[in-house]
C-alpha cells in the first residue's frame, strides 16, 4: 500500500509496523507529529502498546531503559534541546545494553532559538555508543526504523534514526507501507537474555569495580564493530523481502568517478541532482553518502577514496574549534592509507539555510580546481 506521508509519520509507521510495545515521549517541534500519531494509534487500539506521557525527555529515555530491560520493544522520538536533555540517559541506555530505537529530527540548538535543520544535536551524542543513521527520504525513514530494531536487538545497542527538520519531517512524500505479515517475518519479537524480572530480582548497573568496567566498555566497542556487518546483512535481507536496497553507505556514479562529493542525509540526496548537471558539463564526479555514521563505515570509505583524485565533504554541522564532523571522520579514516587524496571540508547550511543543487555545483567547482585545501573549514555563502 502506498501513502502520502510526512517524514514524522514515516517514523510513526515504522514503529507501528515494528510492533513497538512501550512508547514514551515528550513533544518538541519539529518532532511532535511522530508521537501524536503514535498516541492516536495506541488510543484506537490499532497499535497494542503502552504509551507513557512523561514530563521531560530525560524521563522518556529513563522509562524506556526500564521497559527495554524487561525485554519489550521500545520507541521514542525527540529533537535538538530534547535530545540534549536526554544526554545522561543516552549513556545509560548503552551501558545497560538496551536496544531502544529513537527517531531524532535534526534541529539547530539554541540560542538563538531555531527550529530549522542542522546535525549538531545528534552529532553531539556521537560518543554515547548509540548507533546513528542519517536518512535521505521518507521511505528510508520508515524502512530504517524496522532495520534498526533488527540490528539493535542482535547486538544489544540502541539506535537513532535521524531525519532533517522540515526538509523531511514536514514534507510529504509517497511512501510504500510494507505488509505487516512480511515485517513480522523479517522482525520477530524481541527476546532478551538478561532481564529485569521480579521473580528473580537482580541489581542492574550497580557499582562495578575497576576489575570489570574496562571489559564492559570493550564489549560495547565489539558490539559496534559487529554492527558494521549487521547493517549490511540486514540491508540485504530487507532488499530480498521488500525490494529496496540499503547499506552502510550509498554511492552514485562512482564507478568511473575521478572526484567525489561526500555528504549525508538530505544534502546528499540533493547532490545527486548536482552530479547529473556536473556530468553534463563533462565532470567525472560521483557521490558517497554516509548513511550509517555510528558505527563509522571506515573500510567502505577507504574502499572508495583509495581510487579517487579529490574529494569534498559537505557538512551541515560544525565541531567548533575544529571543522565539519563528517569531514574529520573521513579524513581520520584515510590517514594511514597510501593513496590518500586531497579532501576538502565545507561547512554549509547551518541553522537550516538552504543548500541547493546550485550551491553544491558551486562548492564542487570552487574546491576541486584547487590542489589542496588551505584551511580545515571552507564556508559556503557566508555574508563576509
Amino acid at each position: 500500500m502506498r501513502k502520502l506521508l510526512i517524514g514524522n509519520h514515516a517514523l510513526s509507521y515504522g514503529a507501528k509496523l515494528s510492533r513497538a510495545e512501550v512508547i514514551s515521549a515528550y513533544p518538541i517541534t519539529p518532532q511532535t507529529e511522530v508521537v501524536e500519531l503514535l498516541s492516536e494509534m495506541c488510543a484506537s487500539g490499532e497499535l497494542k502498546a503502552k504509551f507513557i506521557k512523561v514530563e521531560s525527555e530525560h524521563s522518556a529515555m529513563a522509562s524506556l531503559i526500564g521497559a527495554s530491560a524487561v525485554g519489550v520493544r521500545t520507541f521514542t522520538a525527540t529533537s535538538s534541546q530534547g535530545l540534549a536533555l536526554m544526554h545522561e540517559m543516552l549513556h545509560w541506555a548503552v551501558g545497560a545494553r538496551t536496544p531502544i530505537v529513537m527517531g531524532n529530527i535534526n534541529r539547530a540548538l539554541a540560542p538563538p532559538w531555531s527550529v530549522w535543520t542542522e546535525q549538531n544535536d545528534s552529532l553531539s551524542q556521537r560518543d554515547t555508543g548509540w548507533m546513528q543513521l542519517y536518512a535521505q527520504n521518507n521511505q528510508e525513514v520508515l524502512d530504517s526504523v524496522i532495520q534498526a530494531y533488527k540490528v539493535a536487538e542482535s547486538i544489544d545497542l540502541p539506535a537513532m534514526v535521524i531525519l532533517a527538520a522540515f526538509v523531511l519531517s514536514h514534507t510529504s512524500e509517497t511512501v510504500e507501507i510494507p505488509d505487516q505479515k512480511k515485517v513480522d517475518a523479517f522482525l520477530p519479537s524481541y527476546k532478551r537474555k538478561y532481564k529485569l524480572d521480579p521473580t528473580d530480582p537482580h541489581a542492574f548497573g550497580g557499582l562495578t569495580n575497576t576489575e570489570n568496567y574496562y571489559e564492559l566498555r570493550y564489549k560495547i566497542q565489539k558490539a559496534m564493530e559487529k554492527a558494521l556487518n549487521k547493517w549490511e546483512e540486514v540491508g540485504k535481507e530487507f532488499e530480498e523481502i521488500f525490494g529496496r536496497k540499503y547499506g552502510l553507505i550509498e554511492t552514485y556514479k562512482v564507478s568511473d568517478a575521478k572526484n567525489l562529493i561526500i555528504s549525508s542525509a538530505t544534502i546528499a540526496s540533493t547532490a545527486r541532482n548536482a552530479i547529473d548537471k556536473l556530468r553534463e558539463k563533462g565532470e567525472k564526479v560521483g557521490l558517497l553518502r554516509i548513511r550509517v555514521f555510528r558505527p563509522f563505515p571506515a573500510k567502505k570509505v577507504r574502499g572508495i577514496l583509495n581510487s579517487i583524485d579529490k574529494a569534498v565533504v559537505i557538512d551541515r554541522n560544525i565541531g567548533f574549534g575544529a571543522s565539519g564532523i563528517f569531514y574529520q571522520e573521513v579524513k581520520a579514516a584515510m590517514y594511514n592509507e597510501k593513496n590518500t587524496p586531497p579532501i576538502f571540508g565545507v561547512v554549509a547550511g547551518l541553522g537550516g539555510r538552504d543548500v541547493t543543487s546550485k550551491h553544491i555545483i558551486e562548492i564542487y567547482e570552487d574546491t576541486i580546481k584547487k590542489n589542496k585545501p588551505k584551511s580545515d573549514i571552507i564556508w559556503k555563502g557566508l555574508k563576509e
Partner: protein, 107 residues
C-alpha cells in the same frame, strides 16, 4: 543464584561477563536495608491510607496490605525494612504527619 555467591566475583576473561553489569547474587539475599541511618515508622492511628508514601518511595520498599479499620476494609502501607534505605521521602511527603523518622542505633 544462591547465598554463597555473595563473594566478590572477578572474571578472568571478558567473554565470561554478561553484556551489562548485573548483580550475580539475587536481590532476595542482597538486602540493602542495612544502609539505613534513619528509620521511617508509620503511625497507623494518623494514617489515612492515601498511599502517597507508597507512590513516592523510590525503592519500592513500601508494600500494600489489605486490613480492617473501624470494620471497614482499607489498604495500609507497610514498610519493608529489608530494603528501605531511610531516605525519608515518605516522611517528607506524608500529608498527615503519620510517619516519624527515628535515628537507627548501632547493633
Amino acid at each position: 543464584m544462591s547465598k554463597k555467591s555473595k563473594k566478590i566475583i572477578i572474571y578472568k576473561k571478558e567473554k565470561e561477563l554478561p553484556p551489562s553489569a548485573i548483580s550475580f547474587a539475587s536481590m532476595n539475599y542482597n538486602k540493602t536495608g542495612n544502609w539505613r541511618n534513619f528509620r521511617p515508622v508509620i503511625n497507623y492511628a494518623k494514617c489515612t491510607s492515601c498511599l502517597i508514601c507508597w507512590k513516592f518511595c523510590p525503592e519500592g520498599a513500601i508494600k500494600l496490605k489489605k486490613t480492617k479499620k473501624n470494620n471497614k476494609e482499607v489498604i495500609k502501607p507497610v514498610i519493608n525494612y529489608d530494603y528501605c534505605k531511610g531516605c525519608g521521602i515518605c516522611w517528607e511527603e506524608c500529608p498527615t504527619g503519620a510517619i516519624d523518622i527515628i535515628q537507627e542505633e548501632e547493633d
